[in-house]
């Protein structure tokens, strides 16, 4: 039974096993390799994508759970000519080192800011559990605060509090 879902705004019908994790369908069937395989057990977060706006770990999410839903990957977090505030802050703070975990990290942070527009350090600690082996965490934290500050400076307050930032 094929599975129908929307990926980065485009509808797809995938004739794949319902238990196949979304990660491998994205990477191999749809060629979206920005989403990474890190552990396969939802422990590291390198595979984080948005499912109907929520951050999910695609390496353990069966395709069957995506039926009729909307998936957004790092490739479509924002248009190339108008990057997401998190991406802008990531460049400003020169966050990535090897970069392998950063797609998942950025997707997790974008989802965090969508429901918690100005997280405290404690909230960041509690909500952001992605692993970065290079040790970019100090810059991740600084960049989150910078993204919040940038949005406060450029977006009207009521819009910033909503979910409108995920273009």
């Amino acid at each position: 039974m094929p599975i129908s879902l929307t990926v980065n705004g485009t509808p797809h019908t995938l004739d794949l096993e319902p238990e196949m994790p979304l990660l491998w369908a994205l990477r191999e069937q749809l060629g979206l390799t920005g989403t990474k395989y890190g552990c396969g057990i939802a422990a590291c977060g390198a595979c984080t994508v948005h499912l109907d706006g929520r951050a999910v770990r695609s390496c353990t999410l069966p395709l069957s759970a995506t039926e009729g839903k909307s998936v957004v990957t790092i490739e479509a977090l924002a248009p190339a000519d108008s990057p997401h505030a998190v991406q802008v802050a990531w460049v400003a703070r020169q966050v990535p080192q090897c970069g392998y975990c950063q797609s998942g990290m950025i997707m997790a942070v974008a989802a965090l800011l969508a429901d918690t527009p100005a997280p405290t350090d404690d909230e960041i600690d509690a909500r952001l559990t992605n692993i970065c082996r290079c040790g970019t965490y100090p810059r991740v934290r600084a960049a989150i605060h910078e993204a919040v500050a940038m949005r406060a400076a450029t977006v009207p307050t009521d819009a910033a509090a909503g979910t409108g930032e995920r273009s």
Binding site: E17, G40, P96, Q97, C98, Y100, D125, T129, R133, C134
Partner: protein
């Protein structure tokens, strides 16, 4: 310190469209007062660095190193571009292809043997990877890229190209070259008001005689170095476009999942392929001497099918080995704690131990290969493309010239993808050979990656010291197992007499180079023991070290700055403490002060780390800071939580649940400062790792009175019962 001179072989040529191409060949270095050694001249294995200037002004700098997150391409590009006086916005830096022309092992030869600047003599010694073995390789490792390729390759290339461009302009204008100024990719003649861009001058420059010993800038003239110019690789790493080895895709490519004999050295005895072949998408079950792989039309299908198999392996006679038995053998090999003279009055003895460690790079190992009648093509991420080609050629039984390798970004590495650790290439090409001519991407699961690493050695180290009446060490003796080389006693401190003995205690666990190599364990041993001596001497740990550094002014300056930065000596609440550690590795001196809290239940939290570094000059301050931050967190993983243990001959840990990693909640506030000195450039990828574990251990002692002598700290109750 001798003054070092650079002699180079440089070749230049014109490229289509009127551009300019310059290559710098083998280097010979010698103290200025000695004869300069002339290399035989450019040839295979000697060209190292290229600069290309197109007529439109675009500049391409080729760097013979890989990027695994350490920012090497940007830093080396900056070193060349600064000497070139290039407009950084027009510069592209790319990794040189993995062909002999770019072998950088030649560079290492300039700093071995009689020509080793003293400060660089250590840290090149990579345990089993002696630098002599690296000749003819194209290695990124040992924190060497900036201080060897950069200092002796990139700078010379940039300076030579600049001189040729200026000479070209001077000739065109009929003015003396010394009256011309280069800046931001433009040459100007102030008196006449004339100017020309590098692009306009490129072709003319390419016809000029190449300077054999171009003048390098003095530090005061640096215009790009010492600035935090943005790294060139960041943009692609925030939008998913960066392509790592695991991301390679080829038409009609198949995927393989692989299972390797769980006990190192074991072989595949039997496997029934039927359960896998019955599953959707499966093409073949490939039996190899020590592994079985399933090839399918998707990695997930291959992996499901692999899980359906029940391969039987031998254990090569190691099935009874455990971490406990390995440490028991260490204990027997080392024997009792080192003896001290009978008349020694104040003797301190201590024993430390560390476990095996996995690299656990975020990108699991992978190898994509296509094998056909013409040879093999490989796409992967490696720290040495040349040795990887050799390994593949040997596995396939073909000539190395018939193996091509396209290197990709490495999703971390930390020493896992060095020469002589290319099992993932060897297995990958063997699987692809079975499917010839179809390309196959073999991906190691996280579990396979973790259980088949080349591990940081487990080690046991026994220390003894005698102190004089004032508490200063008269004798320090160390006996240890595990890798060590010169690191066991390499300390900046004035100690009357030091002796170390490395004991052999062989086991079957594969060992490799883990970020900071032998310093990762010996830094912990040495700087914990010095702290114990300070305690015996009833001295403040920082004062005690200071008192032993009268002949090491660089180390003293680093120590004192770190203490000041961290507010050493200011009061802390109950249950909190500071610890300091000072390590000299890979040519750089690093002091770190850890501030910890241990609560009533014995739960440890590292609150803050202040790090001060003397790596000579700093090329890219922001990139350098990132390396120090990352090194601290890498070392914290080993200090706080990570350990590989052996049970029934095999690695017990499988994934991040039982080999945990620090997360953002575990991350202390980190402050990094650099002390600029006139010392030769030091490495930065590794030197921040060794001091953090002892700094935290010493802070725990200050906070609780509990001395932690084993890593990770989770093994030791941090509150006295």
């Amino acid at each position: 310190m001798n003054k070092w001179t650079r002699r180079t072989f440089i070749g230049a040529g014109t490229i289509a469209g009127g551009g300019f191409l310059l290559g710098v060949a083998g280097f010979a270095l010698a103290p200025a007062r000695h004869a300069v050694v002339e290399p035989a001249g450019p040839g295979p294995g000697q060209l190292t660095t290229w600069i290309r200037i197109n007529a439109d002004g675009r500049i391409t700098i080729l760097v013979p190193h890989c990027d695994m997150g350490q920012g090497t391409l940007s830093a080396l590009g900056m070193m060349a571009a600064d000497e070139l006086d290039a407009d950084w916005a027009q510069v592209e830096v790319i990794e040189a292809p993995g062909v002999d022309t770019y072998a950088n092992g030649y560079l290492a030869r300039t700093i071995t043997g009689d020509h080793v600047p003293a400060v660089m003599a250590r840290g090149f010694d990579y345990g089993m990877y002696k630098v002599a073995d690296w000749i003819g390789l194209m290695v990124t490792g040992g924190s060497t890229a900036v201080r060897s390729t950069g200092e002796f390759g990139m700078r010379v290339a940039g300076a030579a190209a600049r001189q040729m461009l200026v000479d070209a302009a001077a000739q065109q204008w009929g003015v003396p070259a010394r009256e011309c100024q280069a800046s931001q990719s433009v040459v100007r003649h102030a008196a006449s008001g004339r100017q020309a861009t590098y692009g306009q001058l490129a072709e003319a420059a390419s016809h000029l005689k190449v300077p054999t010993s171009p003048t390098l800038k003095g530090p005061d003239a640096f215009s790009l170095r010492r600035t935090s110019a943005p790294r060139l690789d960041i943009a692609s790493k925030v939008n998913g476009r960066a392509t790592y080895g695991i991301d390679v895709s080829l038409p009609d490519m198949l995927y393989a999942a692989i299972d390797i004999a769980p006990v190192q050295g074991g072989t595949l005895q039997s496997v029934d392929p039927a359960p896998a072949m019955a599953l959707r998408g499966v093409k073949k079950v490939v039996s190899l001497p020590n592994a079985v792989a399933v090839v399918a039309d998707s990695y997930w299908r291959a992996r499901q099918a692999l899980a359906a198999l029940q391969p039987v392996y031998t254990d090569a006679g190691h099935g009874q080995v455990s971490s406990a038995s390995i440490f028991a053998a260490f204990d027997a090999a080392i024997g009792p704690l080192p003896e001290m003279p009978a008349d020694a009055t104040r003797v301190v003895r201590a024993e430390y131990r560390v476990p095996f460690l996995a690299h656990a790079s975020m990108e699991p190992l992978s190898c994509t290969a296509q094998v056909d009648d013409t040879g093999a093509r490989i796409w992967a991420g490696v720290q040495d493309p040349l040795n990887a080609r050799t390994v593949a050629a040997k596995a396939l039984g073909i000539d190395r010239e018939r193996v091509q390798l396209t290197n990709h970004l490495l999703g971390g590495s930390f020493g896992r993808r060095l020469p002589y650790t290319f099992d993932y290439i060897e297995l990958g090409v063997q699987v692809a050979q079975q499917m010839s001519p179809t390309p196959v991407k073999t991906i190691w699961s996280r579990e396979t990656d973790m259980q088949h690493d080349y591990y940081r050695p487990a080690a046991l180290s026994r220390h003894a010291a005698s102190l004089d009446a004032s508490g200063r060490p008269l004798i320090v003796r160390v006996a240890f197992t595990g890798d060590g080389d010169g690191e066991a006693l390499a300390m900046p401190y004035a100690i009357g007499k030091t002796e170390s003995t490395q004991k052999e205690s062989a086991h079957h666990v594969r060992l490799g180079a883990w970020r900071s190599v032998a310093s990762s364990q010996h830094g912990f041993f040495k700087e914990s023991f010095i702290d114990e001596l300070a305690h015996e001497a009833k001295a403040d740990p920082c004062d005690y070290r200071r008192g032993l550094l009268s002949t090491s002014p660089r180390a003293l300056a680093v120590l004192e700055r770190a203490a000041t930065l961290a507010g050493w000596g200011t009061p802390l609440p109950e249950g909190e403490g500071r610890g300091i550690a000072l390590c000299d590795s890979f040519g750089s001196i690093v002091a770190e002060v850890a501030h910890v809290r241990v609560d009533a239940a014995g739960v440890l939290r590292v609150l803050a780390v202040d790090a001060v570094v003397d790596c000579g000059d700093v090329i890219s301050p922001d990139g350098a800071t990132a390396q120090v931050e990352g090194g601290i967190l890498f070392g914290l993983s080993a200090a706080l939580m990570s350990a590989i243990t052996i049970e029934e001959g095999r690695v017990a840990q499988r994934n991040f649940r039982d080999y945990p990693m620090p997360r953002i909640k575990d991350t202390p506030r980190i402050r990094v400062e650099f002390v600029r000195s006139d010392a030769p450039l030091g490495g930065l990828g590794e030197p921040a790792v060794p001091p953090i574990a002892p700094a935290v251990a010493n802070a725990i002692f200050a906070a609780t009175g509990v001395r932690v002598r084993a890593l990770p700290f989770t093994q030791t109750p941090l509150r006295k019962a």
